[in-house]
């Protein structure tokens, strides 16, 4: 935030590759790393040391026949600002018909055959050139309405656009990518709901925060530790039901080490045992068979979490992380035990808010965690299943431990705002999920 110059792309970074409106999160693990965007494969090595925000041109290196048409391999070349610019402007299209009355959609509107187009594509590497040719050879283009022309150009541009921009991952960009690719990967937490979780939980640079989530690819802990910030005094205890926390989004943020250290990821079962029993059994727990303790979370976790775990894109850091530590330093307690101890001491000191996004019924987890929250502090429970929150609402209402209860959901509508063509977008996301919020009482 404070750096006036943008950082450069480094090996080991997660990067966001953007081609028009499509974005993808990719680990730039080595110089040989390639990224796949539909039918295009990109060699990433030339990104190294260029500043984030740079735009690169896709240059065809080879074309292989694939199952669904040609698969192209590209190298990337840094491109100048002047190469960019709207294709529409480049083409200078202006004469549009008033309506579509004389257009017959009989499939004969385009004089170029698909083999011609493929050839054209090999020959001229610029999408604007290809589109120009397509427009020239379209019998109907200039009879179409502007609206219809625009649609045509957008469709063609999308197919032939040859630039990608490399961006630094942020919570905003990742929330979009994850939700678009597979909303289940982030438990269905949509951008508006995510933004409200951050608000209602009050997470900021001061205070200690507690999160339970059963698998959001690291998005929720990343969003919270991002809000806690670098060089602050806030801390996050991140409980999860699995063997290893999903951390992709956290790793992608490339946070300073001191900030990463303030996100303590622990297994729910294991840390609760530590917490409940640490007075008497603290030493026992450390001495206990590591194997059994490590496995416990795995057997304890509900069915769905296993699938969740396998979805993370970080297989190399999974098992080894635990096994490696326990094996190489047999006498020092494994990292997960140290983390459990750090978390337990924060649990004894109590937290400044609770955020939950559980695949399981939130009720029993909430009962275990609410005593860990100080009075006059927000709780925020997310679920895609309203029925679960209705029950939880009623339970909280009857215990009178939490007040100012609200169950909310959201509509999010995107707008197309263009001269004479302004309207809400024709598709919208149907599910925001539900938030149950309230304040703990003394």
């Amino acid at each position: 935030m404070t750096a006036l110059t943008t950082p450069n792309i480094q090996l080991g970074d997660y990067i966001v590759i953007q081609r028009q409106k499509y974005t993808k999160l990719q680990k730039f693990g080595s110089l040989d790393t390639t990224a796949t965007l539909g039918k295009e494969t990109l060699e990433l090595k030339s990104l190294l040391d260029h500043p984030y925000g740079s735009t690169f041109k896709m240059c065809v290196k080879e074309t292989k026949a694939g199952k669904r048409g040609a698969q192209r391999q590209h190298t990337l070349e840094l491109c100048s600002e002047t190469e960019l610019g709207s294709t529409r402007e480049n083409l200078g299209i202006s004469s549009s018909g008033a309506d579509n009355r004389d257009i017959c959609d009989n499939g004969e509107a385009q004089a170029l055959k698909s083999s011609d187009i493929e050839q054209l594509r090999e020959a001229c590497n610029e999408s604007s050139k290809i589109i120009e040719k397509l427009v020239e050879n379209s019998k109907t283009f200039h009879n179409r309405t502007e609206y219809s022309q625009e649609k045509y150009l957008l469709k063609k541009e999308k197919k032939y656009f040859e630039f990608v921009q490399i961006r630094q991952p942020t919570i905003r960009l990742m929330a979009d990518i994850f939700y678009r690719q597979d909303a289940d990967k982030v438990m269905g937490i949509r951008v508006d709901t995510l933004s409200q979780i951050i608000s209602y939980s009050g997470v900021c640079g001061f205070g200690n925060y507690l999160l339970y989530e059963s698998g959001t690819n690291g998005l929720l802990p990343a969003a919270m530790i991002n809000a806690i910030g670098a060089d602050t005094e806030g801390t996050l205890v991140h409980m999860h039901p699995g063997n290893v926390a999903q951390k992709q989004a956290l790793l992608a943020l490339k946070l300073p080490f001191e900030q990463q250290q303030r996100c303590i990821s622990v297994n729910l079962y294991s840390v609760l045992r530590e917490f409940y029993q640490n007075g008497t059994a603290a030493v026992d727990a450390v001495e206990a068979s590591p194997k059994e303790e490590v496995n416990e979370p795995e057997t304890d976790q509900p069915d769905t979490s296993t699938d969740e775990q396998s979805e993370t894109t970080e297989p190399s850091t999974k098992k080894p992380k635990l096994d490696g530590e326990t094996q190489s330093n047999p006498r020092t307690p494994p990292r997960w035990q140290l983390e459990n101890k750090r978390a337990a001491s924060l649990m004894h000191a109590k937290f400044d808010s609770l955020v939950m996004s559980a695949k399981e019924h939130p009720s029993s987890i909430l009962q275990a965690l609410i005593p860990l929250i100080r009075p006059s502090r927000p709780i925020v429970i997310f679920s895609t299943c309203k029925e679960l929150l209705l029950e939880t609402y009623m339970e909280l209402k009857s215990t009178a431990k939490v007040t100012n209860l609200h169950l909310t959901s959201n509509w999010l509508r995107m707008y197309q705002i263009l001269p004479n063509r302004t309207h809400p977008e024709v598709n919208m996301s149907g599910n925001s999920g539900y938030l149950l919020t309230g304040y703990t009482l003394q």
Binding site: A98, D99, R101, C104, T145, A183, P241, L268, Y269, L272, R273, Y276, Q277, T280, A281, D284, A288, E292, E296, T299, D300, P302, D303, T304, K359, E360, H361, S363, S364, I365, Q367, A368, T384, C385, K386, E387, L388, R413, M414, N420, R421, T422, H423, P424, E425, V426, N427, M428, S429, G430, N431
Partner: protein, 314 residues
């Protein structure tokens, strides 16, 4: 002829809805033979994702029956504007039932009403108008695209609706609704790129005793210009709205319920083994619930309604 009134059995020539599943249905014509490309008369066999149907076999069958396909089965339903809208051959962007229902309600269409529609498009809305106004009213429907007007005219005839509708090929923005229609309409519906150009013609075509007006536009600017024109001509009760229907997908969800109480007691040789722990703390509960589909229609169009009050001098 299956659009005129409720009927019980499939007759030759009926359009029939072949219902395979909630996402798969086809409108087919109940004729035993068709003429192929070579000009030969052959048996009418209809292909579906569950195999083929010998169409002759459904003639005489009761609507609502199950019919066998070569690899499964389907239901035969009598068509109506809702089912037709979901199966008709799209010649243009069409308007769907939620917007159409509001249009019919706001235009106060009922048997006996005289309605003017432009453009005809794929005829989806026309079928709704016809159901609502027959047998005593009349629909005048206009399209500037000649082939579409011809197709629609043919279709209404095949559907047994010809006597209640007149189809015109005409550019109403420039030429109006013909002078024969001056002062005859109870209601006027416009789905045009520039509805404002047709508003003065709508004004002329509505009855002296007044009437209702509707314009459907995808973009807000079209509605803005249309409303300016309506205001100028003395229409009142001008209001604009959007109707969006959501499907609620019904499902049973199994939610794991976990017990964390057992963690409070230290593990000793007397306490249950981990396997028993798991048994105790892994239960699940079923919920009958619903959610919207991931993608919903976010916008169809802006509906602008207005009233022409009685006795406005034209």
């Amino acid at each position: 002829m299956s659009f005129l009134k409720p009927k019980t059995h499939i007759e030759q020539g009926d359009v029939v809805i072949l219902y395979l599943s909630v996402n798969s249905m086809h409108a087919i014509e109940a004729v035993p033979t068709i003429v192929n490309k070579k000009g030969e008369t052959i048996a009418n066999i209809f292909q579906t994702s569950y195999g083929s149907l010998k169409v002759e076999s459904i003639i005489g069958v009761e609507y609502g029956s199950r019919v066998e396909l070569s690899k499964g089965w389907a239901y035969v339903l009598q068509p109506n504007p809702e089912l037709w809208t979901q199966t008709l051959p799209h010649r243009t962007q069409i308007i769907y039932t939620p917007d159409i229902s509001m249009i019919l309600h706001q235009l106060e269409v009922r048997p006996g009403a005289v309605v003017i529609e432009s453009g005809t498009g794929s005829g989806s809305l026309s079928h709704y108008f016809l159901r609502a106004l027959k047998p005593t009213g009349h629909l005048h429907t206009f399209d500037f695209h000649e082939a579409r007007a011809d197709q629609a005219r043919e279709e209404f005839k095949r559907h047994g609706l010809a006597e209640f509708v007149t189809v015109y090929h005409r550019d109403v923005c420039n030429l109006g609704f013909t002078s024969e229609l001056d002062g005859v309409a109870d209601a006027i519906f416009l789905d045009l790129p520039s509805p404002d150009l047709a508003v003065p013609h709508a004004f002329k075509a509505l009855k002296l005793s007044g009437g209702r007006f509707c314009s459907f536009s995808p973009c807000i600017e079209q509605s803005q210009r249309c409303i300016q024109e309506l205001t100028k001509l003395g229409f009142n009760e001008i209001c604009s709205m959007e109707v969006l229907q959501q499907e609620n997908v019904v499902k049973t969800r199994t939610v794991p319920v976990i017990d964390l109480e057992f963690l409070k007691s230290p593990k000793t040789s007397e306490t249950p083994t981990i396997n028993e722990d798991n048994k105790a703390n892994k239960e699940s509960k079923k919920y009958l619930t619903s959610s919207n589909p991931q993608i919903l229609p976010g916008h169809t169009g802006f509906l602008t309604f207005a009233t022409l009050p009685p006795n406005i001098a034209k």
